[in-house]
C-alpha cells in the first residue's frame, strides 16, 4: 500500500496537463460482443469468451460429423480412439491429443482446487469427460482445447505470482476464478443443448440415410429394369418432350450392355435393336440427326460419349504469332500487358499461344491490327506444318479463305517465292486480301477461281495445299447446325467435290520440282467418305503416293473401315479428334507426286509430260491445244482461260515502265528460255542468289532498326 494523497491537496491548483488532455480510453460499445452482462469484461475474459463461442460452434459441427459417421451409440464411449474416424493424420494427432488431455486434466483440477465452489467440481469433471470424447473425435477440437489449456496454465501462473502481492490483486484473481467457474457452468449447459441438438440431427440423419438408401435401390432397380422400349413406347416417347434423366440412364445402360453383349443382353433382343435405340436416345439427348449419329457411332464405337461431350464445349482460343512481324516471346508479354492471359500452346508448335481469358477484344487490339498475330484454331496449323513450305518455292493454297493458313505458309517461306491464294467465293476472298496485307505478306497473289479450273491457269507449283470445303463434322463445337442439317447426300456431294479438287490440286503440282512435288490434303471433317476415300481415289487416279505428314501425334488414318478397303499406305494420314487432342476434328494427308503422267491417259499425256518440265512451254501449250484433251472443266472456265492469250499480249508494253528494273535469276533464265514475253527480263541487270541473300539481310536490317527503336 503506497502513500495516499491528502484530502487537503484538492484545494491546490493541479499541476501538469489538464483533465481534458489526459489520454482517453478507446470508446467501448456495449453489447457489441453479444454479451449483455452488466459486468465489464477484462481483455482475457473477452478472449476466453470468444474461444468459448468458437468451441461451441465446433461442438455443433462435431456433433453433425459424428452423426455422419453414423456411430450408433450416442453414449460417450470410454475409448476415444475408437471414435476417431479416419479423416487423415490420425496417429500423430492421437498421441498428441492424449498427452494434452492428461496435461489439461491436471490443470483443470488445479483450477478447481483454487476455486472456492466445491460442488461445481463434479459437474466440471463430467463436462471434461464429455469434452474428452469430443476431443478425440476431432483433432481440431483438441487444438482448440489445447489453447484453452494453455490459457488456463497462464492464469494459474498469474495467480501464483499474484498470491503474495497486494490484497486488491488477490481479490481480482478470485473474481477471475469465479468467472472461470461461471464459464464452465455455462459450458455444461450449452453442451447439454448441443447434445440434444446433435441427437436430433443424428435422428434426422438416420432418416435421411434410410431415404437415400431407398432412393439408391430405386435407382438401381430402375437401371436393372431398364428395358428397351417396344414399338408403341417409342412412338409415344417421340410425341413427348425428351426426359434427359431417362435418356441418360438408358444410354449408359445400353452402352453397358453393348460392352459385353452376349452376357448382358436381354433375351430375345438383337444387337440391332439396342443400337437403334442407342442412336435414337443419343439423337434426342444431344440434338443430332440420326444419320450423323449413326456415322459417328461407326467411327467411335467406344468413345462416342467422349466425342459428343467434347462437341458441347468450345476448343480453347488460340492465336498464331506472325513471325514476319514479331516473335512469340515478344508478343506474349505484350498481350499480357493488355490484359490477355496467354500461354504457349503446345509442344509441337513454336508460334501458337493459347488464350485463357481476356479483358479486351482479341480481334481489335493495336497488335492485332498491326498484324502481329492471327486468330486461328490450333488444328489449322497442322496442314501447313505438314506442307512444310520452303523458301523460294511456288506454293498454291487452293481454298484459302479467310487466309489463316495462307499467311502461315507465307511466314514459313519468310515472304520469299510466291504464294498463290485462291478461293472460289469472291466475298470470302476479300478477307484473304485484308488478312494477308495486315500480316505483311508481300509474296502473295490472290485470285478467285474455281479450284477445279486452277490447273488451266497455272500448274507448276512446288507445293499445293488443299484444305477442301467439307461437311464440317469435325467442328460441331463451332457450328451446332452441322448436327442437324447434314445427311448422306451432303456428305457424298462434298466427297465428290473434294475428289475433283484433289485431282486438280495434284495436276497443279509439278512432280519435277527440285524441292517439292508435295500436295497436302486436309479437311475439318471426320467422315471417312471425305477423307480416306478421297485420298484413295486420288492414289488410283494419279501418280501420287502417301508420305508421312511430319506430325508426330494424331491417330492413323483408316486402312479398313466398314465395307471400305483403302490403300495400305493410308495409315500415314493423320486424324485429329476433339476428345483426344483438344483440337478441332481434322484430317491431314500428305501426298508426293512422282510423275506428271496421268495413268490411263498415256497417249494424250505424252506431250503434257514434256511440258511439265518447262513452265513457260506448258503455259503456252495449255492455251493452245491441250485444252481439248481435258474434258472435265466447265465451259465458262474455258472461256476464261482463252482470255488469257490477250493478257499475255498486253504484257508486252511492260518494259516501258519507268519503275521496273528487272534482273532475273540466271538459273531460271536457263530454264525458261522460251518465254515469249521476257524481253524485259533479259534487258535487266544480273541478280544472282548471293545478291538476293544480301538484300534479304538488308531487308531484315530494316526490321531490326524498327525494333531497335523500341
Amino acid at each position: 500500500m503506497g502513500r495516499k494523497r491528502e484530502v487537503l491537496d484538492d484545494d491546490k491548483p493541479k499541476k501538469g496537463p489538464g483533465r481534458k488532455t489526459k489520454k482517453q480510453p478507446a470508446p467501448s460499445f456495449k453489447g457489441l460482443l453479444g454479451d449483455d452482462s452488466p459486468k465489464k469484461l477484462s481483455h482475457k475474459q473477452k478472449q476466453r469468451q470468444k474461444k468459448r463461442e468458437e468451441k461451441q460452434a465446433q461442438k455443433a459441427l462435431v456433433g453433425a460429423k459424428r452423426k455422419a459417421t453414423a456411430v450408433s451409440n450416442s453414449r460417450p464411449s470410454k475409448k476415444p480412439k475408437l471414435l476417431f474416424d479416419s479423416d487423415g493424420d490420425e496417429d500423430e494427432n492421437l498421441r498428441s491429443s492424449d498427452s494434452e488431455e492428461e496435461q489439461m486434466q491436471d490443470e483443470y483440477s488445479e483450477d478447481d482446487v483454487l476455486s472456492d465452489s466445491e460442488d461445481k467440481v463434479v459437474e466440471q469433471q463430467n463436462t471434461e469427460k464429455s469434452k474428452k470424447n469430443e476431443k478425440a473425435t476431432s483433432s481440431t477440437i483438441t487444438q482448440k482445447t489445447k489453447k484453452q489449456g494453455k490459457g488456463g496454465a497462464k492464469n494459474k501462473q498469474a495467480e501464483v505470482a499474484a498470491s503474495d502481492s497486494e490484497d486488491d490483486d488477490v481479490k481480482e484473481s478470485d473474481s477471475d476464478n469465479d468467472d472461470d467457474d461461471d464459464e464452465d457452468e455455462d459450458d455444461s449447459d450449452e453442451e447439454m443443448n448441443v447434445e440434444k441438438a446433435s441427437q436430433k440431427m443424428l435422428k434426422k440423419h438416420k432418416q435421411d440415410e434410410i431415404l437415400a438408401q431407398e432412393e439408391l435401390m430405386l435407382n438401381i432397380r430402375s437401371q436393372e429394369k431398364c428395358v428397351l422400349p417396344s414399338g408403341q413406347e417409342i412412338e409415344r416417347e417421340a410425341e413427348l418432350p425428351p426426359d434427359m434423366a431417362i435418356l441418360d440412364n438408358r444410354i449408359s445402360h445400353i452402352r453397358f450392355v453393348l460392352g459385353e453383349f452376349s452376357k448382358r443382353r436381354e433375351e430375345g433382343r438383337s444387337r440391332k435393336e439396342y443400337l437403334d435405340q442407342l442412336i435414337r436416345d443419343l439423337c434426342a439427348r444431344f440434338n443430332y440427326n440420326e444419320f450423323l449419329m449413326e456415322r459417328l457411332l461407326e467411327l467411335f464405337p467406344r468413345e462416342i460419349m467422349d466425342f459428343i461431350e467434347a462437341n458441347e464445349y468450345p476448343r480453347p482460343v488460340t492465336i498464331r504469332t506472325n513471325t514476319l512481324k514479331t516473335r512469340r516471346r515478344d508478343l506474349g508479354p505484350m498481350l499480357i500487358d493488355r490484359g490477355v492471359n496467354v500461354e504457349p500452346m503446345a509442344r509441337w508448335s513454336g508460334v501458337g499461344l493459347t488464350v485463357f481469358d481476356t479483358k479486351v477484344p482479341l480481334g481489335a487490339t493495336p497488335e492485332y491490327l498491326a498484324g502481329h498475330y492471327m486468330l486461328q484454331g490450333g488444328a489449322s496449323f497442322l496442314p501447313v506444318m505438314a506442307l512444310a513450305p520452303q523458301e523460294r518455292e511456288r506454293v498454291l493454297d487452293m481454298c484459302a479463305a479467310p487466309g489463316g493458313k495462307s499467311s502461315y505458309i507465307a511466314a514459313l517461306m519468310k515472304n520469299t517465292g510466291l504464294l498463290w491464294s485462291n478461293d472460289a467465293n469472291r466475298e470470302r476472298c476479300k478477307a484473304i486480301v485484308s488478312n494477308l496485307h495486315r500480316l505483311g505478306v508481300i509474296n502473295s497473289l490472290v485470285t478467285n477461281y474455281d479450284g477445279r479450273a486452277m490447273k488451266k491457269v497455272f500448274h507448276s507449283f512446288d507445293r499445293v495445299l488443299l484444305d477442301a470445303p467439307c461437311s464440317g463434322t469435325g467442328v460441331i463445337s463451332k457450328d451446332e447446325a452441322v448436327k442437324i442439317n447434314k445427311d448422306e447426300k451432303d456428305i457424298l456431294r462434298c466427297s465428290h467435290l473434294q475428289k475433283e479438287l484433289l485431282l486438280s490440286a495434284i495436276d497443279c503440282c509439278n512432280a519435277n520440282s527440285k524441292t517439292g512435288g508435295y500436295i497436302v490434303y486436309s479437311t475439318c471433317s471426320i467422315m471417312v467418305e471425305e477423307n480416306e476415300w478421297v485420298v484413295d481415289y486420288a492414289i488410283k487416279k494419279r501418280n501420287v503416293k502417301l508420305v508421312p505428314c511430319g506430325l508426330d501425334f494424331g491417330k492413323q488414318g483408316f486402312v479398313n473401315f466398314q465395307q471400305h478397303r483403302f490403300h495400305p499406305s493410308l495409315h500415314l494420314a493423320r486424324r485429329f479428334y476433339p476428345h483426344t487432342h483438344n483440337l478441332d476434328g481434322f484430317f491431314v494427308a500428305k501426298l508426293y507426286k512422282f510423275s506428271n503422267k496421268i495413268p490411263g491417259e498415256e497417249n494424250t499425256k505424252d506431250k503434257a509430260e514434256e511440258n511439265g518440265e518447262d513452265v513457260a512451254k506448258s503455259e503456252d501449250s495449255e492455251t493452245k491445244g491441250n485444252n481439248a484433251a481435258k474434258v472435265d472443266i466447265h465451259q465458262t472456265k474455258k472461256q476464261e482461260s482463252e482470255k488469257k492469250t490477250p493478257s499475255i499480249v498486253k504484257k508486252k508494253p511492260l518494259n516501258k515502265d519507268t519503275a521496273t528494273n528487272t534482273p532475273s535469276n540466271p538459273k531460271k533464265k536457263e530454264k525458261k528460255k522460251s518465254i515469249p514475253d521476257t524481253n524485259h527480263i533479259q534487258s535487266g541487270k544480273i541478280g544472282d542468289g548471293k545478291m538476293k541473300k544480301a538484300g534479304f539481310l538488308k531487308k531484315k536490317g530494316f526490321k531490326n532498326k524498327k525494333k531497335g527503336k523500341k
Binding site: H437, E619, K644, K710
Partner: protein, 180 residues
C-alpha cells in the same frame, strides 16, 4: 494489269514522296531482286518480278490482289494511299508522330489527332506534310497529314487538330471490302 503511264507515275510518286521523300528510290532499286509497280483495276500494286510473271497468267477479272496494294486512283485522277502501304511507308518515314496511349484508340477508329493526344512529333515538320503515326511502343498505326507545323503545335489549344487522319490499321476491319 499494266504498268503505270507517265502521268500516273508522276501523281503516284508525288504522293508517295510526301511521306517517304527520296526514299522512293529504295523501293525501286532493290538489291534483293527487282520490284515494280503495276496498275490493276485502278489500284497500284507493288510486286516482285516473279510475282508479275506468274500473276500475269491469271485473268484480270479473277485477279484480286498481287503483292501489296499501295492505293488507288480516283475517277478524277488523284491518288489515294491505302493503309496497306503502311508496311512500306513506316520504315522509310521522314516525319513521325507518336500518340499517347489514350489517343491510340481514337485514332484507330478514324478520328483526327488532337493536340492533347500528341505524345511526340518530329522536329521541323511543316504544315500539310505527310506523317506516319506510331504509338508509344513504336508500332505503326497509320498515317495522316500534319495540320500544323511543329512550331505552331507548341503553342496551341489542346483541343485543336494537329494531324488529319488519312488511314489507320483499324481499316483492316472497318473497310475490309473496299481495300481490294
Amino acid at each position: 494489269m499494266r504498268p503505270l503511264t507517265e502521268e500516273e507515275t508522276n501523281t503516284f510518286f508525288e504522293k508517295l514522296s510526301k511521306y517517304i521523300g527520296e526514299n522512293i528510290k529504295l523501293l525501286i532499286d532493290r538489291q534483293d531482286g527487282s520490284y515494280c509497280f503495276r496498275l490493276h483495276k485502278d489500284r497500284v500494286y507493288y510486286m516482285s518480278e516473279e510475282q508479275l510473271k506468274i500473276g500475269s497468267s491469271a485473268a484480270g477479272e479473277s485477279l484480286l490482289s498481287i503483292g501489296s496494294c499501295f492505293g488507288k486512283f480516283t475517277k478524277s485522277g488523284k491518288f489515294h494511299l491505302h493503309v496497306t502501304a503502311l508496311d512500306y511507308l513506316a520504315p522509310y518515314a521522314k516525319h513521325k508522330v507518336w500518340l499517347k496511349p489514350s489517343a491510340e484508340q481514337q485514332f484507330l477508329y478514324g478520328h483526327h489527332i488532337m493536340k492533347s493526344g500528341l505524345g511526340r512529333l518530329t522536329e521541323d515538320t511543316e504544315q500539310y506534310q505527310g506523317v506516319i503515326v506510331y504509338n508509344m511502343n513504336d508500332l505503326p498505326l497509320g498515317f495522316g497529314v500534319a495540320a500544323k507545323s511543329t512550331q505552331a503545335c507548341r503553342n496551341c489549344d489542346p483541343m485543336t487538330i494537329v494531324v488529319f487522319h488519312q488511314a489507320d490499321t483499324g481499316q483492316y476491319i472497318r473497310d475490309e471490302d473496299t481495300l481490294t
